[in-house]
Symmetry: C2
Subunit: 306 residues, 2 copies
């Protein structure tokens, strides 16, 4: 036949305790069960494993078998632990790709929460624009993507997470800051609307937009930070997703724009279609939900949880 793990375990415990009785207690068996298992093991191996009738001392063969048994049992136990940890999402890797806005505003909180629950999961976060998120997903480099809805969703599944309305960012002392309802392009006539290269997914109406706009495009900032600095300096206003604008900032104001003027972008979760997720990824999504709820609560109306 073949050796069984059970038999090796019974042997190892008996050798350790030096007694069938105590081994039986540890293994939650009766002494007779352990005795029979041991007998069977010796029959399988050939030479005796214990020196006398009492199980106090091992034969040389017994020592050799014990060493091997220990190694095999140890490896098996660690494998079982690792398997359970993996299955529970408590081990492994979480590899995801996200757009800067998500990376900056959603993920920090989400990842902190995740890490608190699963400290042993490696986290690998890629920063990329929406197009690259899709690419990485299709290439298999990452397992999860967070980005706005992809134009070509071949092979990818998109699950909306939230709608991030675009809005006008202006100085707090700007007359526009006083407006409550959504504003449109009409309100911006004659204003300098700065373009910025945040991401291609932010639909700046600079090209092919209505001709009644202000002179948007005349000033272009490379980064969001730069654009905000210029707004603060009074150079003009700019249009950004709500999430991108720091929440508590006395100098700046955020005014929601109507959907026609600035269609809100939908940010969501990208996954490969028809492939199941790793346990860590599943657990991450579990922690992501409450996280979005909290965010919605903090940001109010302009942030719409989906």
């Amino acid at each position: 036949m073949s050796l069984s793990l059970n038999a090796l375990r019974a042997f190892a415990v008996t050798a350790d305790t030096g007694s069938v009785t105590r081994a039986a207690e540890i293994l939650h068996r009766t002494p007779s069960a352990v005795s029979m298992t041991l007998k069977q093991l010796e029959a399988e191996i050939g030479p005796p494993l214990f020196e006398g009738e009492r199980k106090g001392t091992l034969t040389p063969t017994g020592h050799a078998v014990l060493a091997e048994a220990r190694a095999a049992l140890d490896r098996f136990d660690r494998a079982e632990a690792a398997i359970r940890a993996h299955a529970a999402g408590a081990a492994g890797r979480l590899v995801l790709s996200a757009t800067p806005s998500a990376t900056t505003h959603l993920l920090p909180e989400a990842l902190v929460a995740f890490r608190a629950r699963f400290p042993d999961v490696e986290i690998d976060l890629h920063d990329a624009d929406s197009a690259r998120v899709a690419e990485e997903l299709l290439a298999g480099t990452v397992e999860l993507g967070i980005a706005s809805a992809p134009t070509t969703a071949q092979g990818l599944a998109f699950q909306p997470l939230y709608r991030d309305a675009l809005g006008l960012v202006c100085r707090a002392d700007d007359p526009l800051a006083a407006m409550t309802g959504p504003i449109g392009w009409a309100h911006l006539t004659g204003r300098t609307v700065m373009a910025h290269a945040l991401s291609p997914s932010t639909p700046l109406p600079s090209a092919g937009g209505a001709t009644s706009h202000g002179d948007e495009g005349a000033v272009t900032a490379r980064t969001v930070t730069a654009a905000l600095a210029l707004v603060r300096a009074g150079l003009g206003v700019t249009i950004l997703p709500r999430l991108t604008v720091p929440g508590a900032d006395g100098d700046l104001a955020f005014v929601e724009m109507d959907g026609a003027s600035a269609p809100p972008r939908t940010v969501g979760l990208l996954t490969r279609k028809g492939e199941s997720l790793s346990a860590p990824a599943r657990m991450f999504l579990e922690t992501l939900g409450p996280c979005l709820d909290r965010l919605a609560g903090r940001l109010g109306g302009t942030f719409e949880r989906l």
Copy 2:
């Protein structure tokens, strides 16, 4: 419950072959048995292991489990192989201590034969006089000893292997060389009988012996080789065990002495009493028997196998 090796093996083989049917063939089971085992494993682990219904592709969890399962199975299989090898005497160490005469005349042949059968067993041979052989055995340094019967056999078991008669070594042109039957001290009157320090177990009758001897003790050689050289040079004769004297040597002759004059020493196997032997040691003893028979056949009457 707990994971079973069987389940992991069924899973690994199924994942490897990508088919329950083929896995069942390899495992010598019916497909239904494998299917049930897999189902049970998935129930135990939680998340599914295979992507679709067909077993072609693994889920991320499946990949993690497969890696762990492989590691555990591999370790177990190697442990089983090692255990069987140990039990068969084909692995491990053979540590023995032997007196120079055994080391020189018996062990080379025995160890060559043993090594041919068990090339993977490490051999550690200690050279020591009879007293030290016993010491090493008691200290646990060695497992087997080959020496003459110990004076104090406390804790040691002695099993006679052969009787090595003492005999007179003289020049081939010595008148004594012509004698056929066993000779006694009477024949040596007036001769120079050289003492030598071969080993304390060689009973030289220099102290407390009969007074009718020759002037033995007047010349003492440190080694057997030296003693033989002196005999060859005509300085005198000496007394040695048969085994110690090179067999084919035209210059020297060996004449057996009667038991009363020179009691033959009994060389045997020393082991610790009440302790079983390692499998390699057992196998060595098995090869030792035939080896002694061959030696007896070659040396003839003066070498008595016991």
